[in-house]
Symmetry: C2
Subunit: 389 residues, 2 copies
């Protein structure tokens, strides 16, 4: 841990079958006016909406609703929610859904009393909230983003074709509690499950493939990756396997609650590439990441050789005997590619609707991060995207 | 993660060189009457006491002191502190020291307003606090116990020859913040440094060697162990190596802040054996653990074969080719033994002052835990202790 840092993660997690019952303990801590936030109809079909509403009513809450939060929540939807939350004089926001719904609730939490355009304040100037932050609780129904235990919130500005995440420093933005019931993820389609798994894996990689130092965080990252590989292979064949799905759910939380980035640099270029693809295609987030990852990692491999060798040996069990560093590193990425194909991930951006003609425009929407083994120039971004077609 | 659980760890950590400066941000959050708690003279010699006192005075605090908290804080010392804290009408307790000082501060935090004998309430009946808990902050000067980010507090009852830890469920018992500056650990003698390293390793093992399921927590435990092995070997030769000492400090925090026990069973028999040895000898905690560990693990190995094989391969890199499970597992423990000797740990309890005649008495002071691969009978405890002589 060469860098100085702070760490604080006060979110209380309730994990396991039936954990939603802990709403009975948590809800009395907050005011009467609750806004229940959810996405499409799935939480109504699987009964989670009914159960949450029942517990809210039992706790004597006045409930307003924001329905229809989309996979990449938009600025327009945020404006709509601000109006609802203000009219309802919201004391508490209860998000029931996946990462997008949680992200949306957190963005809303800092926007209700913002006093100016939240896009300008939080997504252009990247400021911290200076107003009252409405407390948020989450009931998680989809796994991947880690949004349930961090202070991040990604919002898409469709007009400007920008999908931007802000990780707030203020712990008040973090959910006060999150309910993690692995059985809630059982009804997800296979496509969404594996997209979530790759999102988790990518979160770990973004924090792992950076820096030259020896850092406890990288050892924790390797542990999370090994657990994820093991459980993803079981869940891929047996989606109802509670143990595998619960390990995946827990791994997702710890992959992106800031722990494994403490004291080190991070990269996040795969997310920047994927988010630009997402802004142009509205494709599932995890699949935008899987579709660009290998081209990116093969591009930066020569600049981060030592880490890619370590990745191959410690995560994929590549036997280094008789191999050059380059061969070991490439064998690691080949093993990763085989695993990705085994899961049925989208392996190129053409499948998501990006054409060769769109590459220049998509490249223009990519924010360039500084933390990776090679800071990409505009031509390199275009080359990586072209390679991902 | 087969078991249901909750997780909440609100302690704010400030990590790195000069992190004590963050007292300026934290102290204004609490009342004026502060009790400064420390151990022997070392914090006075190395200037940390002066710096803490300066920052307390700058923040306008009325400071009382509890000095001389010993390595295994006693019940008598707790009674003494309760008197001081009550007379001072303490609003806040600032612990400056190692795990014993932090433990003591937390025990004091729940005892000041307890209204009855805290030993009876917390260490005999193991109740949660029902009174106001005085908030605690820590400035850590010694690494190992993880006390800076958990709700545990070990107290020794000398009269009854009992050293008992209570891990409180109430998050209010956890330090509100902890300052972790790796350079503060540089002045420790080698003996104390390696004892702390083994304490960390043992904390991880106690949570790892239990259960048959596949659990993300065990993968995180392996990551922490691998990091600790790597950094301990560097620090053993070069005690001033900042990177190694900082990794060790961070590993200690995460080894015992409840993360790696989530969703699984744990054992803690090595600590029960070591604490009984400690109650009879007042020996350094980490050395009481190292002195009993191998005899214990070799005793339970046949009952937890699968985990010991995994430990050998994933932590110690034992090549399984051509070996039976038993041989793989034993090779893992042999590798662990070689590492322990390399660090210069105490390898038997005779060196700590336990004689063959004392074994029966020490065995009588061992609390038997239920979570391990084999629940030990009284004769087995005596056998493990005799083997450790």
């Amino acid at each position: 841990m060469l860098g100085n840092f702070s760490y604080c993660n006060p979110t209380k997690l309730y994990f396991g079958k039936g954990a939603i019952g802990y709403l009975k303990e948590e809800l009395p801590k907050y005011g009467k006016n609750v806004v229940l936030i959810y996405g499409g109809g799935s939480v109504k079909k699987n009964g989670i909406y009914d159960e949450a509403l029942r517990l809210l009513r039992e706790a004597g809450k006045n409930v307003a609703e924001i329905a229809g939060v989309m996979p990449n929540p938009t600025l327009e939807k945020l404006y709509e929610g601000m109006k609802i939350a203000r009219e309802h004089k919201a004391d508490f926001l209860l998000a029931v859904g996946g990462g997008s719904v949680c992200d949306y609730a957190k963005a809303l939490a800092v926007s209700v009393h913002c006093g100016e355009d939240p896009w300008e304040k939080y997504y252009v100037r990247f400021e911290e909230p200076s107003c009252e932050v409405v407390p948020v609780g989450c009931v998680l129904t989809m796994v991947g983003t880690g949004s349930e235990m961090n202070a991040g919130a990604v919002i898409t500005n469709r007009e400007q074709k920008l999908k931007i995440g802000h990780v707030f420093a203020d712990e008040k933005v973090m959910p006060r509690f999150a309910v993690l019931d692995p059985t809630y993820t059982f009804t997800l389609p296979h496509y969404q499950m594996v997209a979530g798994i790759y999102d988790i894996f990518s979160h770990i990689c973004e924090q792992y493939f950076s820096g030259e130092d020896d850092n406890t965080s990288d050892y924790l990252a390797e542990g999370l990756m090994r657990s994820l590989l093991h459980s993803s292979r079981i869940a891929n064949k047996d989606m109802q396997n509670y143990e595998a799905r619960s390990n995946i759910m827990w791994t997702a939380t710890w992959a992106l609650n800031t722990l494994i980035s403490r004291g080190k640099t991070t990269d996040w270029m795969v997310h920047m590439l994927g988010q630009a693809v997402g802004a142009y295609t509205d494709a599932t987030h995890g699949m935008t990441l899987s579709a660009v990852s290998l081209a990116y990692y093969r591009h930066i491999l020569p600049y981060g050789m030592k880490k890619f060798v370590r990745f191959a040996e410690n995560v994929w069990g590549v036997d280094p005997a008789g191999k050059s560093d380059r061969e070991i590193a490439e064998a690691g990425l080949s093993a990763m590619e085989a695993w990705m194909k085994e899961l049925g991930l989208v392996m190129n951006i053409s499948e998501l609707g990006v054409t060769g003609e769109m590459v220049k425009d998509v490249a223009g929407a990519v924010l360039v991060m500084q933390g990776g083994y090679k800071v990409l120039g505009r031509e390199e971004i275009e080359a990586v995207l072209a390679e991902s077609l």
